[in-house]
Structures are given as structure tokens and as C-alpha cells.
């Protein structure tokens, strides 16, 4: 420890929500100029700790020191005034307003117009956050939007900047730019808290790390001196995270897509040619907002096409069929949004099993819902996939992200679907749950299902897919075997920087 007091120090912070202990005696310290990684699974207590530091929540016990002085952070306003800034994982920007206007909003209009613009440009140049102040937000990429968020945090002159999973929406190239910015900030004396699930990034960027597990600090170290495996082990406990690649038998064709084009508002989707076979995991890579939603909707039948022959499931044309008719052909679906799409937040788990079982004859008899059958299914899903929950009648919104994701994925997997279409299987899910989900998908493929995984997580796709195609600007490229791609090529294809095969075929 240095002789000068830490920028921020928490001592013995504890916070419980009812019976759930989110933080237990957490000691956490950030020095000026330090890039400090905060690691842990979802539900390990990272968010709670950050909420305490940002004044969003008050700890049950423990103290926070700011530059060596004891302090109470009563509200986010107080935190901002002290010099604590946070960039959230999800952006809060007005699409229709320009970059400058969005920033003016968040600083309560303290500086406006030309003066603000100049300030933005100056800051942007200093930290390599290239933005055009006059452009409206809806034209901007995720990376650019994030820069706005960082800029508006910086305009308040924070001494401590918290970045919550900043790379989850970025391309590899954009992530590299962000790292440059973060390094410059640290060099200027800012303390940085970097929350991430990606250990590779942490090792490349951070000079200190604190690991939380089940609400407690289980390790503090310099991540550059530790192996990825040992950090992962610390995060997850003594669980094995390496998965063996199985050799799967590729069987007959289960899903065929020919010349599928769908338009929804101003978005378009074009899939010229896509075949998925039994025992195969077909990965769809792409940056968020390039038509993933529409691809999912088109394949699941939430959005139908007038061309009945464009989609064929298990030998039956299905282009004009809705979700339940496609389910009857053996296809099952997991949408991206857990709450509000895959599950109804306010309804209990039993009702949420029914959501994808409307066509299931056992789930209802002559229109009367069979709660006993559904309740048994909840037991099956939760035991099989290790979903932690407080009873079958818990509302879906009371489950943590990882647990709910295991639930909605498990709900489809126990049906042993012939075709499974899953959008962002592990987005925002803790490492252990993510690993469980990936393993379950691989085992399902091993049992002869055809699986389509749409994901923004390249590492994930490279790990589990047999073949991979890239979705860019609503157009799906031709698929290649995974070993025929490399990360660099993929990154370029995802940004549309090269002609990928398939784009030309249109």
C-alpha cells in the first residue's frame, strides 16, 4: 500500500436484501491512477458494491473513506459532487437529440451551446474519444454511444470513474480504442474501476484486481501476474471451466432457409441460404443492432413472411406459420430479452413455463391449465439446470439474471427440441451460468438437435459452434466451418469492412 491515502476505500461494507446477503464485510480500495478490475459472477455482489459507492444504496454497516476521510454518500448527486462518475452498461441516451444536447441534459445545462461543444471536443481529443458533437444519437454505433456516456461522466471532473461491463457491446477494434482511452485517463490521475467478465481484457488492461464471490472478497492481486485459469478459479470457486470439445455426428437437414427477406419498420433482413443439420451448432456472429432481433423473429415465427417456402422445418414449409405451429414441427426458441420476452416478470415460474407450452397438449386440457404438470416441469428445469429460486411461485423478476437465463434456456432444452433457435444465450450472465448454458447446448447438439446460436460474444461462438456466419446490416453471410475463420477476419466482417462471402451472392 502506498503512503498516501487511497482515493476510495470501503471498510467492512455489508448489505443484505432480506435473507440474501449481497455484500459481507467488503474491503475495497482504489488508488489514483489505478485501473482496478472488479471481478465476480453475476450475483457475486459487484453491482451492490458499486451502488453503495455511487450513493444509490446505503450499506447496512461499514464505512466508506474518500481520500482518507470518512464519508456518507447519501445520494447519486452527492457521489457526483464528490467526484465519482459511472458509465452504465446500458446507455441512457435520447435517440433524437444530438451528442451535445444529450450531454447538456446530464449536466443540467450548466454549460451550453458553443462553450459545451468546445469542451467536448477538447476532452474528446485529450482522451481519444472521437465523436461529432452535432450528430444525432440514432446514427451512432454502440462504441460511439459509449463514448458519449464516458464524455458526460468526464465533464463532471470525476476522480473515480466506474465502467460497468463497458466492452460487452463493442467490436474488438472498438474495445481496443476504449482501452487506450482508459489508459490515458489513468495516466492523468483518474482512478478507474473496470467491471468485466472477460478475463483476457482484464489481464491486458488492469493493474489491480479484486475478486468477489458470494458477497465476499476472495482475492486481491495484480492480474498481469496471474494466469487466466487461476483468476477464473478464484472467481468461480473450485469449478472446472474448461470444456472439452466433443466430436458430434452431423445428421440430416433440420432447418432450411432460402431467400428469406423480411422488413420491419426501417430494418431489413436478408438470408439467402442457410442450412442447419442435426447435431450441429450454427453460430451467427454480429454486432448488436445488425438484424439479430429480426433474424430471431423471422426464424421463430414471431414475424412471418409471405413466402411460405422460404423456411423449412423438418421437411415442412413453415414461412407463414406462427410460433406455436413451428413449435409443433419441433422447433423451440429462446429470445434475447429474458424479462419481458422470454418470461413475464410479474408471473410466477409455473405460469412462465406455460409461456412456451401453449401448444403442449399436456400443459392444458381443453383450455384448462394443468398447474400440476407445469409445477413438475418447474421442478425438473430448476433441478436439472441448478436454478436457484425461492419456490415455484416466485415471480420471474425475483430471479437473478443468470438463474432466469438458465430457467428460460432449460425450459426449451428439456423438451429435447429437434431445432433450437437461441438469441444471445449468455448475455449479461455470470461466468458459471454461462458455462452451464453452453455445456447444455453442446450436450443437446450431441443428442442430435440442430441449434442456431445468435450471439455477440465471439469467444462463445468460437467455442461452441461448428459453423459460423456473420450478420451485418441485416444480411447473413455464407457460413463457414469455424476453423476456417479467425478472430481478425470475423471482426472485420462484423463491421462490414471487407466483402464477406454471401454479401456478394445477393
Amino acid at each position: 500500500m502506498s503512503s498516501q491515502p487511497a482515493l476510495l476505500q470501503t471498510s467492512q461494507i455489508s448489505k443484505a436484501f432480506g435473507p440474501v446477503v449481497a455484500n459481507e464485510n467488503v474491503d475495497f480500495e482504489v488508488q489514483p491512477s489505478q485501473i482496478h478490475a472488479l471481478l465476480g459472477e453475476n450475483g457475486a455482489g459487484k453491482s451492490t458494491l458499486m451502488k453503495v459507492i455511487c450513493g444509490l444504496q446505503q450499506p447496512d454497516s461499514g464505512t466508506v473513506y474518500w481520500k482518507g476521510e470518512k464519508c456518507t454518500i447519501g445520494s447519486p448527486k452527492v457521489a457526483r459532487a464528490m467526484g465519482i462518475g459511472m458509465v452504465h452498461q446500458h446507455f441512457a441516451l435520447f435517440e433524437g437529440l444530438s451528442v451535445t444536447e444529450n450531454i447538456a441534459f446530464s449536466i443540467d445545462g450548466a454549460v451550453q451551446g458553443k462553450a459545451l461543444e468546445n469542451q467536448i471536443i477538447e476532452l474528446a481529443e485529450r482522451y481519444g474519444l472521437m465523436v461529432e458533437p452535432k450528430r444525432p444519437v440514432f446514427e451512432l454505433s454502440a462504441g460511439e454511444r459509449q463514448r458519449i456516456e464516458i464524455l458526460r461522466a468526464l465533464l463532471l471532473n470525476p476522480e473515480l470513474l466506474i465502467l460497468d461491463e463497458p466492452t460487452s457491446v463493442l467490436t474488438p477494434q472498438e474495445a481496443d480504442q476504449l482501452f487506450d482511452t482508459v489508459r490515458k485517463l489513468a495516466a492523468n490521475g483518474h482512478g478507474i474501476v473496470f467491471i468485466s467478465h472477460k478475463l483476457k481484457e482484464v489481464k491486458a488492461l488492469c493493474d489491480f484486481a479484486t475478486v468477489l464471490r458470494a458477497g465476499r472478497v476472495v482475492g486481491t492481486f495484480d492480474p498481469r501476474e496471474q494466469s487466466t485459469e487461476s483468476i477464473a478459479e478464484l472467481m468461480l470457486g473450485s469449478r472446472d471451466i474448461s470444456t472439452q470439445r466433443q466430436v458430434r455426428h452431423i445428421g440430416d437437414r433440420r432447418l432450411q432457409v432460402r431467400q428469406l427477406s423480411i422488413t420491419d419498420h426501417d430494418q431489413t433482413l436478408q438470408v439467402n441460404n442457410m442450412d442447419v443439420h442435426a447435431g450441429e451448432i450454427f453460430g451467427v456472429a454480429g454486432i448488436a443492432g445488425n438484424g439479430q432481433e429480426l433474424l430471431y423473429a423471422g426464424l421463430s415465427g414471431e414475424q412471418t413472411t409471405s413466402d411460405h417456402n422460404a423456411i423449412e422445418i423438418n421437411g415442412t414449409y413453415a414461412g407463414t406459420l406462427g410460433p406455436n405451429e413451428r413449435r409443433e414441427l419441433g422447433a423451440m426458441f429462446v429470445p434475447e430479452e429474458r424479462l419481458g420476452h422470454a418470461a413475464v416478470p410479474q408471473l410466477d415460474l409455473i405460469d412462465n413455463v406455460l409461456l412456451s407450452n401453449i401448444a403442449n397438449k399436456k400443459a392444458s386440457n381443453k383450455g384448462i391449465v394443468n398447474r400440476r404438470y407445469l409445477s413438475r416441469k418447474v421442478e425438473e428445469i430448476t433441478t436439472l439446470f441448478g436454478v436457484r429460486h425461492a419456490g415455484n411461485k416466485t415471480a420471474a423478476r425475483n430471479l437473478s439474471g443468470g438463474n432466469l437465463q438458465k430457467f428460460v434456456v432449460g425450459r426449451e432444452i428439456i423438451k429435447q427440441p429437434s431445432v433450437l433457435i437461441i438469441n444471445q444465450p449468455t448475455w449479461g450472465v455470470d461466468a458459471v451460468s454461462a458455462m452451464n448454458i453452453r455445456e447444455a447446448l453442446m450436450s443437446l447438439a450431441g443428442h442430435g438437435s440442430a441449434i442456431i446460436v445468435i450471439s455477440q460474444d465471439l469467444d462463445e461462438l468460437l467455442e461452441i459452434s461448428d459453423r459460423l456466419a456473420v450478420l451485418h446490416h441485416g444480411t447473413l453471410s455464407e457460413a463457414r466451418a469455424v476453423h476456417d475463420w479467425n478472430v481478425e477476419q470475423l471482426g472485420l466482417a462484423m463491421t462490414g469492412s471487407t466483402d464477406t462471402p454471401g454479401n456478394a451472392a445477393a
Binding site: 432480506g18 476521510e69 470518512k70 464528490m82 410479474q346 409461456l355 383450455g367
Partner: protein, 363 residues
Amino acid sequence: MIQLELRQNTNWWTSLRSILLALLITAAFSVAVLFVMSDRPADAIWQMLSFPWQGRRMEVQFGLVLQQSAYLAVIALGLSVGYRANIWNIGAEGQFAFGSIGAYAAYLLMGSPDSGWAFPALLLAGIIGGCLWAMIPAFLRVTCNTNELLTSLMLVYVASHLLTYLCIGPLKGDPKAGQAETYPIAESVQASKLISGTELHTGLLVLFVAFIILAAILLFTLLGYRLKVAQHTPRAERFAGFSPNNTVWLSFAISGAMAGLAGAVYLTAETGKLIQAENYLENFGFAAIIIAFLGRLHPVGILLAALMISYVNVGASYIQASLQVDDSVAELIEVVALFAFLGCAVLDQYTVKFKRTTTRKVA
């Protein structure tokens, strides 16, 4: 500073507490209103609470309460179907009128009103009448994306003018009557009294059975489930394979059918004939909207709310007769109850925290 914090878990106790609080607020306000509106407030309060045991026979007073609450509960439950799915049919009054018109039309077309099938046929015609009238706003919303709040409300006025037109025009009955009305329907198709001297009749049994059936559908079937899903998240609705447009059709059809049935029963049991709108319609269709929300769109709640509001209504007309207190006091109480119940419903989901604005303290 007052803050609302989301509750981690909610249960029957938190709900009960907020309902009791709402009742308390309503009661306190009612007392205050009676103090203003009556020169003998203590008597007014006492008589309003205990009117069934005052003066006339008790079963007559309770009969009045049950009679009114049956209509209100059935229409309110029908409306709650759409409200659960954020579909706002506020035109039950018009669908009620069309139920009556449908039933009367069926009576006119009927060959032999003495048949045992005549009474059920009238009720069926009422259901169809209400249902068809409700299909108009549903059709407009599905095809033209119009706001069903406006269309369903405006159709109330169309329906009530149509009712009056029928009574003064094509279906005009006894010209010596003091109001525009049709000839009465035959005795054989009128609902018969259950207990003589009271307002209880077989029509109310029909309404009760309809209420139970619809309540069971809402609580135990896929249809009820689909409405629950539609209420919270339209995207999950599509995921489940339900078409949002069909939900619109369905909920309008059901609420229209229930209001139409109530209208048919009203014709056969209360009036026996169609009368010009202002003397025929008793605002059941509008009061039912309040009942649906007081009952939190739940069948049991709706039943209790209908009983409570009917009790207040009948009590108010009682003190109007005995103490000359204007019975608009009932409407005031209804509205306050609505605000109190909606306001207190927030406490189900949130706890109120009183906090001093904390500032940075440096030790």
C-alpha cells in the same frame, strides 16, 4: 423527503393492508361529506350503515343491494377481461342497451313466447346484441388502429339515442304512457320472482352463474392466462404465439357479451319493456368501470366491490328518503373510493420511506 422503494416480495398481507387503508380513507371522507351535506350527520351516518335493519323488511333492503350488485359485478367482470390486457372498453353502457334491444327484437321475432325456450332465447339474443355492438370498436382498433377509449364511449351515445328512437318510432307502444316506451313483453318471458316482496328474481341467478363461469375461465384457463400475459408484456404474448389482435377481438366480445346479457336480464326482469334511454339506463355500464378497478380486476375483488358500492348506493337513496340528504353523496363516495383504492394499490408494490435528505458528512 418521501421515497417509494420497490418491495422485494409481496404477499396477501401487503395487499390486505393497502385495501384496509383505502377503506379507512373512504370511510373518513364519507363521514366528512355527510357532516357537510346533512344537518343531522350522526343520524345520516348511522342510517347509511344500518339501513337494512331500519324501517322496511330487511330482506327487501338486502334484495335491492343484491339486485344492483349482480348487474354491476357481471358487467365489471366482463370489462376486467379487456382491462387486464390493456384494452379499454368503456362503452359497456351502450352494449348493455344493445343487449336489451337484441332481446326485445328476438321477442318480436319469436313465434310462441310461451315455449320454455323463449326466456333463454331472449338472453342469448341479448348476449349477441351486446357482443355485436362491442365488435365495432374492436374492428376499428384492429383495422384502423383507432383509440378504443373514444370509439367505445361514443358508441354509448349512439346506442342510447337508438334506444330512444326505437321507443318513439318504430316500436312505439302505448301512446298514453307518460314516457316513450314499447309494449311490454309477455309474462311468460319475464323473469320470475324468487322471494315475493323482494327484488330477487331468476334473472339474478342467471347473472350469478354467468359471473361464476367467466371467473373460472379467467382463473383457470388458457384464455385467462393469455390475458395475464397480454397485460404485462406484449412481446411475451407474441413469444407464446398469441396474436395481439385476437386478444382485442376476444376481450371486446366477452365484455360486450356480459353487458348484453345484463341488458337482456334487465329487460326481462326489471322493466319488461324498452323505455327511452334516460329513463331506462341506470349508468350500470359506467359504474362497472369503477367496480372493475376497485376490485383490482380480480373476480373476488369485483364481487366484493360490487356489493360495497351497491350497499352505498341503496343506503344513499334510503337517507335521501328519510333525511332528505341528496343521494349524489353515493357518487362522491364512489369516486373517493376509486382514488383511495388506486392510490393505495401503489403500496402493494412499494414501501414508503421517510428520509431526511442526507448530505455528505465529513468526520
